[in-house]
Amino acid sequence: MEFYDNGGDHPMTPEQGEVVISLKNVSKQYSREAPAVSHVNFEVREGEFVFITGETGSGKSTLLKMIMRELEPTSGSVNVLGYNLNRISHSRIPKFRRNLGVVFQDFRLLTDRNVYENVAFAQRIIEVPSQKIRRNVTQMLDMVGMADKYKRNVTKLSGGEQQRVALARALVNKPYILLADEPTGNLDAETAWEIMQLIEQANRVYGTTVVVVTHDRTIVERMHRRVIEMKQGEIIRDNPLEDLDNNEEQMLENDYQMVQDVDADDYGYYEN
């Protein structure tokens, strides 16, 4: 897998287990009131699947916005994929973001376009040739189970279907990191689980590093992944994957079997 662009400060091609997200002593204060994020330290390695949980106002979304460089930290350093986000120039931010895929609670689809156009939009922005766009978008819609509805306007889709399209759009540019901000917040439990399965599939099959911000404890407990829990801007728990017991690991194996029918060659990342 290759970066779309390696023009960052210290761009890197992450290898298995390498640190791709690093936050050191990061704080963010919006006003004179208590900081939204306070002295946060954590690292995420290539291929990891991490939940950031916590109550509303605990600072988890702020943390995600700093990772995607929508916000700058008040203090501390944020490094993502070798880019020092404290010092990244404005002109390099687009290049940096091409390595990320982002999914939101409210889907943020273009309501005046159909399913295909919404996913193709992401490829057009980074100027992928038309023929490759057709192939890549078709593959991605197939992966999220929306290939048969590619002509449908997104306003005519259910919430779950809209989030599938949003996920396809986030993944079609083969990002190294997938950032999801409450991706199941607007969905019923069953649909939420289906979406999480797709996100996990991206993590397992493509090796995409995944960071999911959620307050849905059911999902977190069911997925058996690393959990960073926040409260009042501070990390109060960080359970690495190694801490999971054998029983949980077996459950993970079972989940993995569920997606074995997905042919990695068919859905694998493609050349640009």
Binding site: P94, R98, I125
Partner: protein, 300 residues
């Protein structure tokens, strides 16, 4: 800019126009109105200037001489005047010619025959046509101060001052009106593009998250503004082209007497200048309006 990116942005610009049909039409109508008025002013002013210029061509001063002035002295003055840059032409009118002209304009042949002698025998003169009307005073002073055999110089002060004054006044008024119209146009197109940006807020935000460059985000809106300006300039050009020819025909048919007084500038001459001016203005207004708005509203 890559060709693909150029055409993509152009395509998005066109799509933006159709997505905001109401605002786009309002903008086009406004720009078209402004440029129509500009074109109208331009056509009227060009014709008026042309008429003033023609009138200026006919401003003459007449130099009369004392009795006993020799032909050599008159010829010398004629030569001296012709060498001056503000003088376009100098014509010698003899006493006989002056009488003939007077008779032709004011008397019948029968009345003329009642005169046994030429009453204008001593009215031989030089008719001086000016190239620059504003220099009339200094030319008159020059003649009166340097040629003592000159009896009198008749000038056309009122005409000269009025013409140069009117020319300037029309120029100032039209410049102010056109400037106001352009400011209004820029403001309106800026509002249209701003509306488009607000309507596409989600799309712009998604583009930012996906990693679109500033240029890629901004270009469609710049194209949208320029295209609105282009369409907004083509409409008045077509309307003015049709109207101009018809208006002249109508005026000359309705008021045939004016054909002797007025000389209209041809449609070809007017539009050879008006087409590039209006196109540049239209597209320029679109560019300025959209660029201003993008700087203000589109923080990518």
């Amino acid at each position: 800019m890559k060709i693909k990116a150029f055409f993509y942005s152009l395509g998005q610009g066109i799509k933006n126009m159709f997505r905001n049909k109401g605002y786009t039409l309002a903008s086009i109508a406004t720009i078209a109105s402004c440029l129509f008025l500009f074109g109208l002013f331009y056509a009227v002013i060009t014709n008026f200037s042309n008429m003033l210029h023609s009138a200026e061509q006919n401003v003459q001063i007449t130099v009369f001489f004392n009795e006993g002035t020799t032909e050599n002295q008159i010829s010398q003055l004629q030569i001296d005047l012709k060498e001056r840059p503000e003088v376009k032409d100098v014509t010698y009118i003899s006493g006989d010619q002056a009488w003939k002209d007077f008779v032709k304009e004011n008397l019948t042949e029968e009345d003329a025959q009642t005169f046994t002698e030429n009453p204008l025998a001593s009215s031989e003169n030089l008719e001086v046509t000016l190239a620059d009307v504003s220099q009339q005073d200094s030319l008159v002073s020059f003649i009166e101060d340097n040629y003592d055999y000159v009896r009198q110089v008749n000038r056309s002060d009122v005409t000269a001052d009025a013409l140069t004054g009117a020319n300037r006044l029309i120029g100032y008024i039209s410049a102010v009106i056109i400037a106001i119209l352009f400011v209004v146009s820029i403001f309106l197109i800026s509002n249209t593009v701003a509306t488009g940006i607000i309507n596409h807020k989600d799309e712009i935000e998604i583009m930012k998250y996906i990693g679109a460059t500033d240029f890629f985000v901004r270009a469609p809106y710049v194209f949208e503004g320029m295209l609105i300006g282009l369409v907004g300039s083509l409409v008045p050009l077509v309307v003015l082209y049709v109207l101009y020819g018809r208006a002249i025909t109508w005026i000359l048919e309705k008021f045939p007497i004016l054909s002797n007084i007025l000389s209209f500038v041809s449609r070809g001459v007017i539009f050879s200048r008006l087409i590039p001016i209006i196109l540049i203005l239209g597209v320029g207004i679109g560019f300025i309006g959209s660029t201003m708005t993008i700087r203000k509203h589109l923080h990518v």
